[in-house]
């Protein structure tokens, strides 16, 4: 590359460890529903040293929280590399690009492009949504800012362009199932560098998805990080199984949680998560896992250690040739 980027697209830790070929771990860091920076700092301290990146959610489930850029900046100051999430629900293409310029200027190097949950689910159900662009078009825009040095309108960026490692999401269990790998192919073509998926509990079905993904050669075009997460209780397991659209929790996992005595629920949840991570490591084309321990960030170090993935690898300093 002739753009002074030293061969990296973004130079983020996430990018460097992925390119270095190590099994990557990302986690989730949910900003608070208030303006308390200490909440972010505390959560970041749990994750520091255990993950290559922490997803900073963007008004998750359409509930107002501290902005992902601001929270990401605080996480960065604590030594945790942020992957800021950006949804298409709340911003038009002007606001998105403005925030991307700002995020880069503040040191943020990874962005995950999402459609966003409909505002109906959140705490402002009477809000107007935006959806000026969709998540796939946002991927194109972020890539264009970096590789073409152009804004979405085609105008050239004069000066420093924001160079992000571009992520997108996929839900292998959403419908229509046969279309999902093809949509992933579209995301790869739009310019996604990595993919994080919805929580996977049905590993067998995920394997089928990955077979289709490999048949399309997509595992060679982008890094795939399936979502995993510790279950807290049989109640939570049942809720995820029955109430969350697009989540597939096998009966065997629910039964296992139900058979566990209450004082061991969390331990068992972590154990199941670790087992799923071990299964994921055996699936060709899986580049790492994304641990979603929702409001339970302190579980992440335990999961990483039990999975035998600690200490974390050092990112290579030099970009691999080619």
């Amino acid at each position: 590359m002739s753009d002074g980027s030293n061969g990296w697209k973004s130079g983020s830790t996430l990018e460097r460890v992925l390119k270095g070929g190590s099994f990557v771990i990302t986690a989730e860091l949910g900003p608070p529903k208030n303006a308390d920076a200490e909440v972010i700092r505390k959560k970041a301290r749990f994750l520091k040293g255990y993950v290559e990146g922490a997803n900073i959610t963007d008004n998750q489930t359409a509930i107002v929280r501290m902005s992902s850029v601001a929270a990401g900046c605080i996480a960065l100051s604590e030594g945790v590399e942020p992957i800021i999430q950006m949804t298409c629900r709340d911003r038009n293409r002007l606001a998105m690009q403005a925030d991307l310029l700002g995020a880069y200027a503040l040191g943020i190097r990874n962005v995950l492009c999402l459609s966003g949950d409909h505002q109906k689910f959140g705490n402002h159900p009477t809000a107007k949504n935006v959806y000026d662009v969709d998540s796939l078009q946002l991927v194109q825009i972020v890539k264009g800012l970096r590789d073409d040095k152009k804004f979405a309108c085609g105008e050239e960026i004069k000066g420093v362009e924001p160079r992000f490692f571009v992520g997108a999401a996929e839900n292998p269990f959403a419908d229509p199932f046969e279309w999902r790998p093809l949509r992933l192919a579209k995301k790869a073509r739009a310019g996604a560098d990595f993919i994080q998926t919805q929580l996977v509990y049905n590993v067998e079905k995920f394997k089928t998805f990955m077979t289709m993904v490999r048949d399309l050669g997509l595992d060679r075009q982008l890094y795939i990080l399936p979502g995993v997460g510790p279950l807290k209780s049989p109640g939570m397991t049942r809720y995820m199984k029955n109430e969350v659209p697009g989540l597939d929790v096998p009966d065997a996992i629910l039964e296992r949680m139900q058979k566990t005595p209450k004082e061991k629920w969390r331990e068992e949840g972590i154990k199941i998560c670790v087992e799923i991570i071990q299964q994921m490591r055996e699936i060709p084309g899986v580049a790492g896992v994304h641990i979603m321990a929702i409001e339970w960030e302190e579980a992440v170090p335990e999961i990483v250690k039990q999975a035998g993935l600690y200490p974390r690898p050092q990112p290579p300093a030099q970009a691999p040739a080619g």
Binding site: R89, K120, D132, Q137, P176, W179
Partner: protein, 229 residues
């Protein structure tokens, strides 16, 4: 057609409270077809309001009229001799109709009796559903004749999103996922590969985002002025 539904009676009563003589004006086009503001609905609403005003101890004069198409000046002229004798007109047309009344009869207070809901069709008796968002730049050729702007909750151009489940949208099990339908239809047609093309960000300037819209056709303007040979 334009699909509308009547406002709650209480809201209408509060709206007309300051007025004594009211003309309820229905429309013989879209809102007649969707049973919101035709002759029958005008009669029922007028009689309910008369009754309510009597119960409240202040009987109002509430009369009825129906215009064939409220959105055309020529048709509105059919009530021009009546409107002057009322304090307010309660329009049972769509938002276009009520505004046309206000515009055509500047001295008259025009009130909306309906909520204009969407452009759609009758799916089955008693059920209407949205089909077009009037974005001003039709893409039905690319999406198997199913509009994602109007029918996807997020107006996605490269759907479906991760909230699509069993053919339904994440917002409600009552709402079909437009992109699930699009994928299935294109597959049936053997045109699934067309959906692999990335739809670029949409030019919304032809939609409401570009400001109030207006179409001018000089050929028709000239013809009206008799300037064509």
């Amino acid at each position: 057609m334009i699909v509308a539904e009547q406002k709650p009676l209480e809201e209408i009563k509060a709206m007309i409270a300051p007025y004594q003589r009211i003309l309820v004006v229905g429309c013989g086009t879209c809102v007649t077809v969707c049973f919101a503001g035709g002759e029958k609905e005008v009669a029922i609403l007028a009689s309910s309001l008369r009754m309510a005003s009597r119960i409240d101890g202040n009987p109002k004069q509430i009369d009825e009229a129906v215009v064939q198409r409220q959105c055309e000046w020529e048709f509105l002229d059919t009530i021009k001799d009546q409107v002057g004798s009322y304090d307010a007109i309660l329009g049972l047309g769509c938002g276009v109709g009520t505004q046309a009344i206000a515009e055509h009869f500047p001295g008259v207070i025009a009130l909306p009796g309906l909520n204009t809901s969407f452009m759609g069709l009758t799916v089955e008796a008693g059920v209407w559903a949205e089909r077009c968002a009037a974005c001003g730049s039709c893409i039905l050729d690319k999406t198997g004749g199913i509009c994602p702007i109007a029918r996807c909750s997020k107006s996605l151009l490269n759907g479906p999103c991760g909230g699509s489940s069993g053919g339904k949208c994440e917002i409600s099990k009552e709402v079909d996922c437009a992109w699930d339908m699009i994928v299935k239809r294109m597959k049936e047609r053997g045109q699934l590969e067309k959906l692999l093309e990335i739809n670029p960000p949409k030019d919304w300037s032809t939609a409401r985002d570009g400001g109030p819209r207006r179409i001018s056709r000089e050929d028709l303007m000239l013809a009206r002025e008799g300037e064509l040979p």
